[in-house]
Protein backbone atom coordinates (compact mmCIF):
# COMPACT_ATOMS: atom_id res chain seq x y z
CA UNK A 1 0.00 0.00 0.00
CA UNK A 2 2.75 2.42 1.00
CA UNK A 3 4.50 1.56 -2.24
CA UNK A 4 1.40 2.39 -4.28
CA UNK A 5 0.95 5.73 -2.51
CA UNK A 6 4.59 6.55 -3.09
CA UNK A 7 4.22 5.63 -6.75
CA UNK A 8 1.11 7.80 -7.06
CA UNK A 9 2.96 10.79 -5.67
CA UNK A 10 5.99 10.22 -7.85
CA UNK A 11 3.76 10.07 -10.94
CA UNK A 12 1.84 13.18 -9.89
CA UNK A 13 5.18 14.93 -9.43
CA UNK A 14 6.24 13.88 -12.92
CA UNK A 15 2.99 15.02 -14.54
CA UNK A 16 3.16 18.31 -12.59
CA UNK A 17 6.62 18.88 -14.03
CA UNK A 18 5.42 18.09 -17.55
CA UNK A 19 2.47 20.43 -17.12
CA UNK A 20 4.72 23.22 -15.88
CA UNK A 21 7.03 22.71 -18.86
CA UNK A 22 4.09 22.84 -21.24
CA UNK A 23 2.63 25.90 -19.55
CA UNK A 24 5.87 27.84 -19.65
CA UNK A 25 6.84 27.02 -23.23
CA UNK A 26 6.32 30.64 -24.31
CA UNK A 27 5.14 33.89 -22.78
CA UNK A 28 2.33 34.51 -25.24
CA UNK A 29 0.84 31.13 -24.56
CA UNK A 30 1.30 31.53 -20.82
CA UNK A 31 -0.62 34.81 -20.85
CA UNK A 32 -3.34 33.46 -23.13
CA UNK A 33 -3.91 30.42 -20.90
CA UNK A 34 -4.08 32.54 -17.75
CA UNK A 35 -6.47 34.99 -19.44
CA UNK A 36 -8.76 32.40 -21.00
CA UNK A 37 -8.93 30.20 -17.90
CA UNK A 38 -9.72 33.13 -15.63
CA UNK A 39 -12.37 34.53 -17.95
CA UNK A 40 -13.89 31.09 -18.51
CA UNK A 41 -14.16 30.42 -14.78
CA UNK A 42 -15.61 33.83 -13.98
CA UNK A 43 -18.04 33.74 -16.89
CA UNK A 44 -19.40 30.31 -15.96
CA UNK A 45 -20.93 31.54 -12.71
CA UNK A 46 -21.33 35.24 -13.39
CA UNK A 47 -24.78 34.91 -14.96
CA UNK A 48 -26.36 33.39 -11.89
CA UNK A 49 -24.47 35.72 -9.58
CA UNK A 50 -25.79 38.74 -11.48
CA UNK A 51 -29.28 37.28 -11.27
CA UNK A 52 -28.84 36.94 -7.51
CA UNK A 53 -27.64 40.54 -7.27
CA UNK A 54 -30.61 41.74 -9.30
CA UNK A 55 -33.17 39.93 -7.15
CA UNK A 56 -31.34 40.10 -3.78
CA UNK A 57 -30.67 36.37 -3.84
CA UNK A 58 -32.27 33.36 -5.47
CA UNK A 59 -34.83 31.21 -3.66
CA UNK A 60 -33.96 31.20 0.03
CA UNK A 61 -30.30 32.04 -0.49
CA UNK A 62 -28.86 35.50 -0.03
CA UNK A 63 -26.33 37.02 -2.45
CA UNK A 64 -23.38 36.11 -0.17
CA UNK A 65 -24.66 32.59 0.33
CA UNK A 66 -24.99 32.31 -3.43
CA UNK A 67 -21.43 33.50 -3.80
CA UNK A 68 -20.31 30.87 -1.29
CA UNK A 69 -22.13 28.19 -3.25
CA UNK A 70 -20.68 29.42 -6.55
CA UNK A 71 -17.21 29.35 -4.95
CA UNK A 72 -17.74 25.79 -3.78
CA UNK A 73 -18.97 24.83 -7.22
CA UNK A 74 -16.06 26.49 -9.03
CA UNK A 75 -13.59 24.85 -6.65
CA UNK A 76 -14.97 21.33 -7.07
CA UNK A 77 -15.47 21.55 -10.84
CA UNK A 78 -12.04 23.20 -11.03
CA UNK A 79 -10.58 20.12 -9.36
CA UNK A 80 -12.27 17.94 -11.96
CA UNK A 81 -10.73 20.03 -14.73
CA UNK A 82 -7.36 19.84 -12.99
CA UNK A 83 -7.43 16.04 -13.13
CA UNK A 84 -8.96 15.71 -16.59
CA UNK A 85 -5.96 16.30 -18.87
CA UNK A 86 -6.09 14.02 -21.90
CA UNK A 87 -9.67 13.02 -21.01
CA UNK A 88 -8.63 10.93 -18.03
CA UNK A 89 -12.01 11.65 -16.45
CA UNK A 90 -13.99 12.12 -19.67
CA UNK A 91 -13.39 8.45 -20.05
CA UNK A 92 -16.01 7.75 -22.73
CA UNK A 93 -13.81 9.72 -25.12
CA UNK A 94 -10.87 7.41 -24.49
CA UNK A 95 -13.09 4.35 -24.76
CA UNK A 96 -14.96 5.55 -27.84
CA UNK A 97 -11.82 6.63 -29.65
CA UNK A 98 -10.04 3.34 -28.99
CA UNK A 99 -7.40 5.10 -26.91
CA UNK A 100 -7.55 2.66 -24.01
CA UNK A 101 -5.06 0.62 -26.02
CA UNK A 102 -2.46 3.23 -25.14
CA UNK A 103 -3.17 2.66 -21.45
CA UNK A 104 -2.98 -1.08 -21.77
CA UNK A 105 0.61 -1.06 -22.93
CA UNK A 106 1.82 0.73 -19.82
CA UNK A 107 3.12 -1.33 -16.91
CA UNK A 108 0.75 0.37 -14.49
CA UNK A 109 -2.69 -0.50 -13.14
CA UNK A 110 -5.35 1.37 -15.10
CA UNK A 111 -6.68 3.20 -12.04
CA UNK A 112 -3.25 4.58 -11.33
CA UNK A 113 -2.82 5.79 -14.89
CA UNK A 114 -6.21 7.47 -14.94
CA UNK A 115 -5.64 9.05 -11.53
CA UNK A 116 -2.34 10.56 -12.55
CA UNK A 117 -2.19 11.09 -16.32
CA UNK A 118 -4.65 13.97 -16.36
CA UNK A 119 -3.04 15.90 -13.52
CA UNK A 120 -2.61 19.54 -14.59
CA UNK A 121 -1.78 21.40 -11.39
CA UNK A 122 -0.36 24.41 -13.22
CA UNK A 123 -2.28 24.99 -16.44
CA UNK A 124 -5.51 23.53 -15.07
CA UNK A 125 -5.57 25.14 -11.65
CA UNK A 126 -7.36 28.40 -12.52
CA UNK A 127 -10.82 27.05 -11.72
CA UNK A 128 -9.82 25.66 -8.36
CA UNK A 129 -7.98 28.85 -7.45
CA UNK A 130 -10.86 31.11 -8.54
CA UNK A 131 -13.28 28.91 -6.60
CA UNK A 132 -11.14 29.04 -3.50
CA UNK A 133 -11.00 32.81 -3.81
CA UNK A 134 -14.82 33.12 -4.12
CA UNK A 135 -15.27 30.70 -1.22
CA UNK A 136 -12.95 32.59 1.14
CA UNK A 137 -14.38 35.95 0.12
CA UNK A 138 -17.95 34.75 0.69
CA UNK A 139 -17.01 33.09 4.00
CA UNK A 140 -15.55 36.40 5.17
CA UNK A 141 -18.67 38.34 4.12
CA UNK A 142 -20.91 35.77 5.80
CA UNK A 143 -18.79 36.06 8.98
CA UNK A 144 -18.73 32.27 9.33
CA UNK A 145 -17.29 30.81 12.52
CA UNK A 146 -14.44 28.98 10.83
CA UNK A 147 -13.04 26.17 12.98
CA UNK A 148 -10.49 23.50 12.01
CA UNK A 149 -13.35 20.99 11.94
CA UNK A 150 -15.33 23.20 9.58
CA UNK A 151 -12.31 23.53 7.30
CA UNK A 152 -11.86 19.77 7.37
CA UNK A 153 -15.54 19.32 6.57
CA UNK A 154 -15.27 21.75 3.66
CA UNK A 155 -12.27 19.90 2.24
CA UNK A 156 -14.08 16.58 2.64
CA UNK A 157 -17.21 17.91 0.95
CA UNK A 158 -15.24 19.36 -1.95
CA UNK A 159 -13.69 15.94 -2.42
CA UNK A 160 -17.14 14.34 -2.23
CA UNK A 161 -18.45 16.71 -4.91
CA UNK A 162 -15.40 15.79 -7.03
CA UNK A 163 -16.03 12.07 -6.48
CA UNK A 164 -19.70 12.40 -7.49
CA UNK A 165 -18.81 14.17 -10.73
CA UNK A 166 -16.15 11.59 -11.59
CA UNK A 167 -18.38 8.68 -10.59
CA UNK A 168 -21.28 9.88 -12.75
CA UNK A 169 -19.03 10.37 -15.77
CA UNK A 170 -17.69 6.84 -15.39
CA UNK A 171 -21.14 5.32 -14.86
CA UNK A 172 -22.58 6.71 -18.09
CA UNK A 173 -19.37 5.89 -19.95
CA UNK A 174 -20.28 2.21 -19.80
CA UNK A 175 -22.33 2.79 -22.96
CA UNK A 176 -19.17 3.81 -24.84
CA UNK A 177 -17.97 0.20 -24.52
CA UNK A 178 -21.11 -0.87 -26.41
CA UNK A 179 -21.40 2.08 -28.81
CA UNK A 180 -17.95 3.66 -29.20
CA UNK A 181 -18.94 6.22 -31.81
CA UNK A 182 -22.38 7.10 -30.53
CA UNK A 183 -21.32 7.39 -26.91
CA UNK A 184 -17.91 8.94 -27.36
CA UNK A 185 -19.18 12.20 -25.86
CA UNK A 186 -21.48 10.75 -23.21
CA UNK A 187 -19.22 11.51 -20.23
CA UNK A 188 -18.80 15.08 -21.47
CA UNK A 189 -22.58 15.34 -21.87
CA UNK A 190 -23.07 14.09 -18.31
CA UNK A 191 -20.31 16.37 -17.04
CA UNK A 192 -21.88 19.28 -18.91
CA UNK A 193 -25.31 18.48 -17.52
CA UNK A 194 -24.09 18.30 -13.94
CA UNK A 195 -21.97 21.40 -14.21
CA UNK A 196 -24.66 23.40 -16.01
CA UNK A 197 -27.17 22.69 -13.24
CA UNK A 198 -24.74 22.19 -10.38
CA UNK A 199 -24.66 25.79 -9.21
CA UNK A 200 -28.37 26.51 -8.91
CA UNK A 201 -30.15 26.61 -5.56
CA UNK A 202 -32.79 23.89 -5.49
CA UNK A 203 -34.75 25.06 -2.45
CA UNK A 204 -37.75 26.31 -4.41
CA UNK A 205 -38.14 23.19 -6.53
CA UNK A 206 -40.88 20.62 -5.96
CA UNK A 207 -39.85 17.75 -3.67
CA UNK A 208 -39.65 15.16 -6.46
CA UNK A 209 -37.37 17.38 -8.53
CA UNK A 210 -35.11 18.03 -5.53
CA UNK A 211 -34.99 14.31 -4.80
CA UNK A 212 -34.14 13.48 -8.43
CA UNK A 213 -31.43 16.13 -8.58
CA UNK A 214 -29.81 14.82 -5.43
CA UNK A 215 -29.90 11.14 -6.34
CA UNK A 216 -30.38 9.97 -9.94
CA UNK A 217 -28.91 13.04 -11.60
CA UNK A 218 -27.08 14.50 -8.61
CA UNK A 219 -26.52 18.05 -9.84
CA UNK A 220 -27.63 19.31 -6.43
CA UNK A 221 -24.81 17.39 -4.78
CA UNK A 222 -22.19 19.39 -6.64
CA UNK A 223 -22.58 22.51 -4.53
CA UNK A 224 -26.13 23.18 -3.30
CA UNK A 225 -26.43 20.37 -0.75
CA UNK A 226 -22.89 20.66 0.69
CA UNK A 227 -23.32 24.45 0.89
CA UNK A 228 -26.49 24.06 2.94
CA UNK A 229 -24.68 21.68 5.28
CA UNK A 230 -21.63 23.92 5.63
CA UNK A 231 -23.78 27.01 6.21
CA UNK A 232 -25.85 25.17 8.80
CA UNK A 233 -29.02 25.42 6.71
CA UNK A 234 -29.47 21.72 5.95
CA UNK A 235 -32.94 20.36 6.71
CA UNK A 236 -31.42 17.47 8.70
CA UNK A 237 -28.04 17.14 10.49
CA UNK A 238 -27.79 13.52 9.29
CA UNK A 239 -27.07 14.86 5.81
CA UNK A 240 -23.48 15.58 6.86
CA UNK A 241 -23.13 11.82 7.19
CA UNK A 242 -25.22 10.75 4.21
CA UNK A 243 -23.62 13.14 1.76
CA UNK A 244 -20.11 11.58 1.99
CA UNK A 245 -21.70 8.14 2.00
CA UNK A 246 -23.56 8.96 -1.19
CA UNK A 247 -20.33 10.23 -2.77
CA UNK A 248 -18.60 6.96 -1.90
CA UNK A 249 -21.49 5.00 -3.40
CA UNK A 250 -21.49 6.94 -6.66
CA UNK A 251 -17.71 6.76 -6.97
CA UNK A 252 -17.80 3.02 -6.20
CA UNK A 253 -20.52 2.52 -8.80
CA UNK A 254 -18.36 4.38 -11.32
CA UNK A 255 -15.39 2.12 -10.59
CA UNK A 256 -17.48 -1.06 -10.79
CA UNK A 257 -19.12 0.04 -14.03
CA UNK A 258 -15.77 0.79 -15.58
CA UNK A 259 -14.42 -2.59 -14.54
CA UNK A 260 -17.41 -4.25 -16.20
CA UNK A 261 -16.76 -2.17 -19.28
CA UNK A 262 -13.13 -3.29 -19.35
CA UNK A 263 -14.25 -6.92 -19.31
CA UNK A 264 -16.37 -6.16 -22.33
CA UNK A 265 -13.43 -4.34 -23.92
CA UNK A 266 -11.31 -7.47 -23.51
CA UNK A 267 -13.99 -9.37 -25.38
CA UNK A 268 -14.79 -6.88 -28.11
CA UNK A 269 -11.77 -4.62 -28.31
CA UNK A 270 -12.13 -1.46 -30.31
CA UNK A 271 -12.19 -1.42 -34.08
CA UNK A 272 -12.30 2.37 -33.97
CA UNK A 273 -9.30 4.60 -33.44
CA UNK A 274 -9.09 8.38 -33.34
CA UNK A 275 -5.92 10.11 -32.21
CA UNK A 276 -7.81 13.27 -31.23
CA UNK A 277 -7.14 14.38 -27.66
CA UNK A 278 -4.58 11.67 -27.02
CA UNK A 279 -1.68 13.12 -25.05
CA UNK A 280 -2.36 16.60 -26.31
Amino acid sequence: MAGKVKRLFSLWAHYAKMDAQWFAQDTGMFLLVVFSETIANFAAVTGLFLLAVRFGGVGDMSVDEMLFMLGFYTLSTGLVNMMDGGNALNISRRVGRGQLDHCLIQPLPLWMQLATEGFLPVSGSAGALCGLGFLLFAAARLRLAVSPLWVLGTVLFVLCSFAIQVGMRYIVSLSAFFHPAGSEEISAVMGGFLSSLGYYPLSGLPGWARAALNTVLPAGCLSWLPTLILLGKAPSPTLSFFYPLFAVLIFGAGVTTFQKGMKLYAKRGSSRYKAMGHRS
Binding site: M18, W22, D101, L104, P107, A266, R268, Y273
Partner: protein, 337 residues
Protein backbone atom coordinates in the same frame (compact mmCIF):
# COMPACT_ATOMS: atom_id res chain seq x y z
CA UNK B 1 -4.81 -15.56 -8.90
CA UNK B 2 -2.14 -15.07 -6.20
CA UNK B 3 -0.36 -11.76 -6.33
CA UNK B 4 3.04 -13.39 -6.88
CA UNK B 5 1.81 -14.92 -10.12
CA UNK B 6 0.79 -11.49 -11.39
CA UNK B 7 4.37 -10.33 -11.07
CA UNK B 8 5.91 -13.47 -12.48
CA UNK B 9 8.85 -12.54 -14.67
CA UNK B 10 10.54 -15.93 -15.02
CA UNK B 11 12.99 -16.34 -17.89
CA UNK B 12 11.24 -17.54 -21.03
CA UNK B 13 12.21 -19.38 -24.18
CA UNK B 14 9.00 -18.94 -26.09
CA UNK B 15 7.98 -15.40 -26.96
CA UNK B 16 4.63 -16.33 -28.44
CA UNK B 17 2.57 -19.38 -27.79
CA UNK B 18 -0.87 -19.42 -29.37
CA UNK B 19 -2.81 -22.65 -29.28
CA UNK B 20 -6.08 -23.06 -31.15
CA UNK B 21 -6.85 -19.37 -30.75
CA UNK B 22 -10.08 -18.02 -32.17
CA UNK B 23 -11.47 -14.52 -32.06
CA UNK B 24 -14.75 -13.28 -33.46
CA UNK B 25 -16.05 -9.70 -33.77
CA UNK B 26 -19.40 -8.12 -34.44
CA UNK B 27 -19.54 -5.36 -37.04
CA UNK B 28 -22.27 -2.80 -37.47
CA UNK B 29 -23.90 -2.79 -40.92
CA UNK B 30 -26.02 0.22 -41.71
CA UNK B 31 -27.92 1.08 -44.82
CA UNK B 32 -29.34 4.23 -46.37
CA UNK B 33 -32.60 4.18 -44.46
CA UNK B 34 -32.25 6.58 -41.52
CA UNK B 35 -35.26 5.20 -39.65
CA UNK B 36 -34.18 1.59 -40.10
CA UNK B 37 -30.71 2.47 -38.84
CA UNK B 38 -32.21 4.01 -35.74
CA UNK B 39 -34.66 1.28 -34.93
CA UNK B 40 -33.02 -1.90 -36.21
CA UNK B 41 -29.25 -1.56 -36.44
CA UNK B 42 -27.85 -4.63 -38.23
CA UNK B 43 -24.65 -6.49 -37.42
CA UNK B 44 -22.53 -9.15 -39.01
CA UNK B 45 -20.04 -11.48 -37.41
CA UNK B 46 -16.44 -11.59 -38.57
CA UNK B 47 -14.02 -14.39 -37.71
CA UNK B 48 -10.79 -12.48 -37.16
CA UNK B 49 -8.82 -15.58 -36.11
CA UNK B 50 -9.78 -19.22 -36.52
CA UNK B 51 -8.00 -21.88 -34.44
CA UNK B 52 -4.60 -20.33 -34.94
CA UNK B 53 -1.51 -22.16 -33.69
CA UNK B 54 1.65 -20.10 -33.58
CA UNK B 55 4.91 -20.40 -31.68
CA UNK B 56 7.76 -17.92 -31.79
CA UNK B 57 11.00 -18.77 -30.01
CA UNK B 58 13.28 -16.29 -28.25
CA UNK B 59 15.57 -14.49 -30.67
CA UNK B 60 13.48 -15.06 -33.78
CA UNK B 61 12.70 -12.27 -36.25
CA UNK B 62 9.28 -13.06 -37.62
CA UNK B 63 7.36 -11.23 -40.30
CA UNK B 64 3.61 -11.39 -39.97
CA UNK B 65 1.84 -10.69 -43.23
CA UNK B 66 -1.49 -11.06 -44.88
CA UNK B 67 -4.09 -9.12 -46.83
CA UNK B 68 -6.19 -6.41 -45.19
CA UNK B 69 -8.52 -7.81 -42.55
CA UNK B 70 -6.60 -11.08 -42.27
CA UNK B 71 -6.32 -10.79 -38.48
CA UNK B 72 -2.83 -9.32 -38.00
CA UNK B 73 -3.79 -6.48 -35.67
CA UNK B 74 -6.11 -8.79 -33.74
CA UNK B 75 -3.17 -11.11 -33.10
CA UNK B 76 -1.13 -8.18 -31.82
CA UNK B 77 -3.90 -7.05 -29.52
CA UNK B 78 -4.26 -10.57 -28.15
CA UNK B 79 -0.54 -10.82 -27.52
CA UNK B 80 -0.52 -7.49 -25.65
CA UNK B 81 -3.55 -8.27 -23.51
CA UNK B 82 -5.68 -5.55 -25.07
CA UNK B 83 -8.31 -8.15 -25.88
CA UNK B 84 -8.89 -11.76 -24.88
CA UNK B 85 -9.37 -14.81 -27.09
CA UNK B 86 -12.80 -16.38 -27.43
CA UNK B 87 -11.15 -19.77 -27.21
CA UNK B 88 -7.66 -21.21 -27.13
CA UNK B 89 -4.59 -20.27 -25.12
CA UNK B 90 -2.37 -17.23 -25.53
CA UNK B 91 0.96 -16.75 -23.78
CA UNK B 92 3.39 -13.94 -24.43
CA UNK B 93 6.86 -14.35 -22.90
CA UNK B 94 5.36 -17.13 -20.79
CA UNK B 95 2.72 -14.80 -19.31
CA UNK B 96 -1.03 -14.62 -19.65
CA UNK B 97 -1.37 -11.23 -21.40
CA UNK B 98 -4.83 -10.49 -20.01
CA UNK B 99 -4.14 -11.36 -16.39
CA UNK B 100 -0.45 -10.49 -16.18
CA UNK B 101 -0.49 -7.39 -18.32
CA UNK B 102 1.67 -5.24 -16.05
CA UNK B 103 4.70 -7.57 -15.70
CA UNK B 104 4.34 -8.37 -19.42
CA UNK B 105 4.52 -4.72 -20.38
CA UNK B 106 7.83 -4.37 -18.57
CA UNK B 107 9.25 -7.03 -20.89
CA UNK B 108 7.78 -6.19 -24.25
CA UNK B 109 7.58 -3.15 -26.47
CA UNK B 110 4.64 -2.40 -28.75
CA UNK B 111 4.42 0.02 -31.63
CA UNK B 112 1.46 0.57 -33.90
CA UNK B 113 2.57 2.48 -36.97
CA UNK B 114 -0.58 4.58 -37.22
CA UNK B 115 -0.58 5.54 -33.53
CA UNK B 116 1.92 7.44 -31.50
CA UNK B 117 2.92 7.06 -27.88
CA UNK B 118 4.66 10.43 -27.92
CA UNK B 119 3.24 13.47 -26.16
CA UNK B 120 1.95 15.70 -28.92
CA UNK B 121 2.38 19.08 -27.23
CA UNK B 122 5.81 18.41 -25.73
CA UNK B 123 9.34 18.18 -27.08
CA UNK B 124 10.41 14.62 -27.99
CA UNK B 125 12.73 14.41 -24.99
CA UNK B 126 9.82 14.90 -22.56
CA UNK B 127 8.21 11.71 -23.83
CA UNK B 128 11.43 9.81 -23.17
CA UNK B 129 11.68 11.07 -19.58
CA UNK B 130 7.97 10.31 -19.14
CA UNK B 131 8.64 6.74 -20.25
CA UNK B 132 11.52 6.51 -17.78
CA UNK B 133 9.22 7.55 -14.92
CA UNK B 134 6.25 5.35 -15.84
CA UNK B 135 8.29 2.23 -16.64
CA UNK B 136 10.61 2.91 -13.66
CA UNK B 137 13.65 2.45 -15.86
CA UNK B 138 16.93 2.55 -13.98
CA UNK B 139 19.32 5.33 -14.93
CA UNK B 140 21.95 3.05 -16.44
CA UNK B 141 19.57 1.18 -18.74
CA UNK B 142 17.94 4.44 -19.76
CA UNK B 143 21.24 6.12 -20.61
CA UNK B 144 22.46 3.09 -22.58
CA UNK B 145 19.26 2.72 -24.54
CA UNK B 146 18.97 6.45 -25.06
CA UNK B 147 22.48 6.63 -26.49
CA UNK B 148 21.77 3.63 -28.71
CA UNK B 149 18.51 5.09 -30.03
CA UNK B 150 20.07 8.50 -30.62
CA UNK B 151 22.93 6.99 -32.56
CA UNK B 152 21.12 4.36 -34.58
CA UNK B 153 17.97 6.36 -35.28
CA UNK B 154 19.65 9.75 -35.53
CA UNK B 155 17.35 11.37 -33.01
CA UNK B 156 19.62 14.05 -31.63
CA UNK B 157 18.61 16.67 -34.24
CA UNK B 158 15.01 16.79 -33.11
CA UNK B 159 15.04 15.78 -29.44
CA UNK B 160 13.95 19.28 -28.46
CA UNK B 161 11.42 19.70 -31.27
CA UNK B 162 7.72 19.53 -30.41
CA UNK B 163 6.21 16.24 -31.49
CA UNK B 164 3.42 18.01 -33.37
CA UNK B 165 6.06 19.56 -35.63
CA UNK B 166 7.88 16.34 -36.57
CA UNK B 167 7.70 14.77 -40.00
CA UNK B 168 6.22 11.27 -40.20
CA UNK B 169 9.65 9.66 -40.52
CA UNK B 170 11.00 11.56 -37.52
CA UNK B 171 7.93 10.69 -35.49
CA UNK B 172 8.26 7.00 -36.28
CA UNK B 173 11.94 7.03 -35.34
CA UNK B 174 11.18 8.83 -32.10
CA UNK B 175 8.38 6.37 -31.33
CA UNK B 176 10.66 3.41 -32.00
CA UNK B 177 13.42 4.93 -29.89
CA UNK B 178 11.03 5.57 -27.02
CA UNK B 179 9.69 2.04 -27.22
CA UNK B 180 13.17 0.68 -26.65
CA UNK B 181 14.00 2.70 -23.54
CA UNK B 182 13.16 -0.13 -21.13
CA UNK B 183 15.17 -2.61 -23.24
CA UNK B 184 12.25 -4.88 -24.16
CA UNK B 185 13.12 -8.50 -24.88
CA UNK B 186 10.31 -8.91 -27.34
CA UNK B 187 8.97 -6.20 -29.61
CA UNK B 188 5.81 -6.15 -31.67
CA UNK B 189 5.68 -3.71 -34.55
CA UNK B 190 2.50 -3.16 -36.51
CA UNK B 191 3.31 -1.49 -39.83
CA UNK B 192 6.40 0.38 -38.58
CA UNK B 193 7.38 1.42 -42.10
CA UNK B 194 3.97 2.84 -42.97
CA UNK B 195 4.36 6.00 -45.03
CA UNK B 196 8.13 6.23 -44.62
CA UNK B 197 10.41 7.37 -47.42
CA UNK B 198 13.15 5.11 -48.75
CA UNK B 199 15.87 6.48 -46.47
CA UNK B 200 13.75 6.42 -43.32
CA UNK B 201 12.62 2.89 -44.13
CA UNK B 202 16.18 1.74 -44.66
CA UNK B 203 17.25 3.20 -41.32
CA UNK B 204 14.35 1.52 -39.55
CA UNK B 205 15.08 -1.88 -41.14
CA UNK B 206 18.79 -1.70 -40.36
CA UNK B 207 18.05 -0.81 -36.77
CA UNK B 208 15.61 -3.67 -36.30
CA UNK B 209 18.12 -6.12 -37.79
CA UNK B 210 20.76 -4.75 -35.45
CA UNK B 211 18.50 -5.22 -32.41
CA UNK B 212 17.75 -8.79 -33.38
CA UNK B 213 21.33 -9.68 -34.24
CA UNK B 214 23.27 -7.82 -31.55
CA UNK B 215 20.86 -7.67 -28.63
CA UNK B 216 18.97 -10.89 -29.30
CA UNK B 217 15.64 -9.08 -29.27
CA UNK B 218 12.75 -11.17 -30.49
CA UNK B 219 10.80 -9.27 -33.13
CA UNK B 220 7.37 -9.76 -34.62
CA UNK B 221 6.62 -7.28 -37.37
CA UNK B 222 3.76 -6.72 -39.78
CA UNK B 223 3.93 -4.80 -43.00
CA UNK B 224 2.30 -4.73 -46.39
CA UNK B 225 5.70 -4.22 -47.94
CA UNK B 226 6.77 -7.80 -48.64
CA UNK B 227 10.18 -6.77 -49.91
CA UNK B 228 10.90 -5.22 -46.52
CA UNK B 229 9.63 -8.25 -44.67
CA UNK B 230 11.61 -10.76 -46.68
CA UNK B 231 14.72 -8.67 -46.21
CA UNK B 232 14.26 -8.35 -42.44
CA UNK B 233 12.85 -11.60 -41.24
CA UNK B 234 14.13 -15.16 -41.05
CA UNK B 235 10.59 -16.47 -40.98
CA UNK B 236 7.35 -15.36 -42.54
CA UNK B 237 3.94 -16.20 -41.16
CA UNK B 238 1.12 -15.39 -43.53
CA UNK B 239 -2.47 -15.10 -42.49
CA UNK B 240 -5.47 -15.42 -44.71
CA UNK B 241 -9.05 -15.05 -43.50
CA UNK B 242 -8.07 -15.69 -39.89
CA UNK B 243 -5.97 -18.79 -40.55
CA UNK B 244 -2.26 -19.31 -40.99
CA UNK B 245 -1.79 -19.95 -44.69
CA UNK B 246 1.99 -20.08 -44.71
CA UNK B 247 4.71 -20.39 -42.08
CA UNK B 248 8.30 -20.75 -43.23
CA UNK B 249 11.42 -19.06 -44.63
CA UNK B 250 11.05 -16.33 -47.28
CA UNK B 251 12.70 -18.65 -49.85
CA UNK B 252 10.12 -21.34 -49.14
CA UNK B 253 7.37 -18.87 -49.82
CA UNK B 254 8.81 -18.15 -53.24
CA UNK B 255 9.18 -21.88 -53.93
CA UNK B 256 5.63 -22.53 -52.79
CA UNK B 257 4.43 -20.09 -55.38
CA UNK B 258 6.28 -22.16 -57.99
CA UNK B 259 9.43 -20.01 -57.98
CA UNK B 260 8.33 -18.12 -61.06
CA UNK B 261 11.08 -16.46 -63.12
CA UNK B 262 11.24 -13.72 -65.65
CA UNK B 263 13.21 -13.45 -68.86
CA UNK B 264 13.52 -10.21 -70.81
CA UNK B 265 14.69 -10.37 -74.41
CA UNK B 266 15.76 -7.24 -76.27
CA UNK B 267 15.14 -7.67 -80.01
CA UNK B 268 13.14 -6.18 -82.86
CA UNK B 269 9.94 -8.24 -83.20
CA UNK B 270 8.19 -10.10 -80.37
CA UNK B 271 9.75 -13.55 -80.34
CA UNK B 272 7.93 -16.84 -79.69
CA UNK B 273 9.48 -18.78 -76.77
CA UNK B 274 8.12 -22.29 -76.13
CA UNK B 275 6.92 -22.82 -72.51
CA UNK B 276 7.03 -19.07 -71.73
CA UNK B 277 4.17 -16.58 -71.30
CA UNK B 278 4.52 -13.09 -72.67
CA UNK B 279 3.86 -10.57 -69.87
CA UNK B 280 4.36 -7.44 -71.97
CA UNK B 281 6.46 -5.53 -74.47
CA UNK B 282 8.00 -2.07 -74.23
CA UNK B 283 9.60 -1.09 -77.51
CA UNK B 284 12.21 -3.76 -78.14
CA UNK B 285 12.03 -5.18 -74.59
CA UNK B 286 9.83 -8.26 -74.32
CA UNK B 287 9.27 -9.81 -70.87
CA UNK B 288 8.18 -13.44 -70.41
CA UNK B 289 7.29 -15.53 -67.35
CA UNK B 290 8.48 -19.14 -67.10
CA UNK B 291 8.55 -21.96 -64.59
CA UNK B 292 12.11 -23.37 -64.24
CA UNK B 293 10.57 -26.72 -63.28
CA UNK B 294 9.09 -27.02 -66.74
CA UNK B 295 11.51 -25.13 -68.93
CA UNK B 296 15.17 -25.46 -68.00
CA UNK B 297 17.25 -22.29 -68.11
CA UNK B 298 19.78 -23.89 -70.49
CA UNK B 299 17.03 -24.92 -72.95
CA UNK B 300 15.54 -21.47 -72.76
CA UNK B 301 18.87 -19.75 -73.37
CA UNK B 302 19.62 -21.94 -76.39
CA UNK B 303 16.16 -21.10 -77.79
CA UNK B 304 16.92 -17.42 -77.37
CA UNK B 305 20.38 -17.82 -78.96
CA UNK B 306 18.73 -19.14 -82.08
CA UNK B 307 16.49 -16.05 -82.41
CA UNK B 308 17.57 -13.51 -85.03
CA UNK B 309 18.61 -9.98 -83.92
CA UNK B 310 18.79 -10.56 -80.15
CA UNK B 311 20.65 -7.62 -78.53
CA UNK B 312 20.39 -8.52 -74.83
CA UNK B 313 18.89 -11.07 -72.38
CA UNK B 314 18.02 -10.63 -68.66
CA UNK B 315 17.03 -13.42 -66.28
CA UNK B 316 15.48 -12.68 -62.89
CA UNK B 317 13.22 -14.00 -60.14
CA UNK B 318 9.65 -12.72 -60.16
CA UNK B 319 9.27 -9.79 -57.72
CA UNK B 320 8.02 -10.98 -54.33
CA UNK B 321 5.13 -8.49 -54.41
CA UNK B 322 3.80 -10.16 -57.55
CA UNK B 323 4.19 -13.62 -56.04
CA UNK B 324 2.33 -12.62 -52.89
CA UNK B 325 -0.42 -10.88 -54.83
CA UNK B 326 -0.95 -14.11 -56.74
CA UNK B 327 -1.08 -16.06 -53.46
CA UNK B 328 -3.62 -13.61 -51.97
CA UNK B 329 -5.75 -14.00 -55.08
CA UNK B 330 -5.64 -17.77 -54.81
CA UNK B 331 -6.49 -17.72 -51.10
CA UNK B 332 -9.41 -15.41 -51.69
CA UNK B 333 -10.76 -17.70 -54.38
CA UNK B 334 -10.32 -20.74 -52.11
CA UNK B 335 -11.89 -19.07 -49.05
CA UNK B 336 -15.50 -20.13 -48.38
CA UNK B 337 -18.19 -17.46 -48.81
Amino acid sequence: MPNAALHDTKPWDTAVEMTQVSKRFRQKQNGDNVLANLLHPRHKTVDALKEVDLTIRRGEFVAYAGPNGAGKSTTFKLLCGMIGADSGRVRTCGLDPLRQRIPLMRQIGVLFGNRTELWWDHPVLSSFTWKKAVWEIDERTYQEQFALACEMLDLKHFLHTFVRELSLGQRMRADLGMMLMHRPQFILLDEPTLGLDVLAKRRMIDFLKYLNREQGTTILVTSHDLDDLTEMAQRIVMLSAGRIAFDGAPGDLQRRAGDPRRVTVVCGATPALPGCTLLGSQGERHTFAFDPGRVSVSALLSNIARLPGVKDVELSRAPIEGVIAELYRNWREEAPG
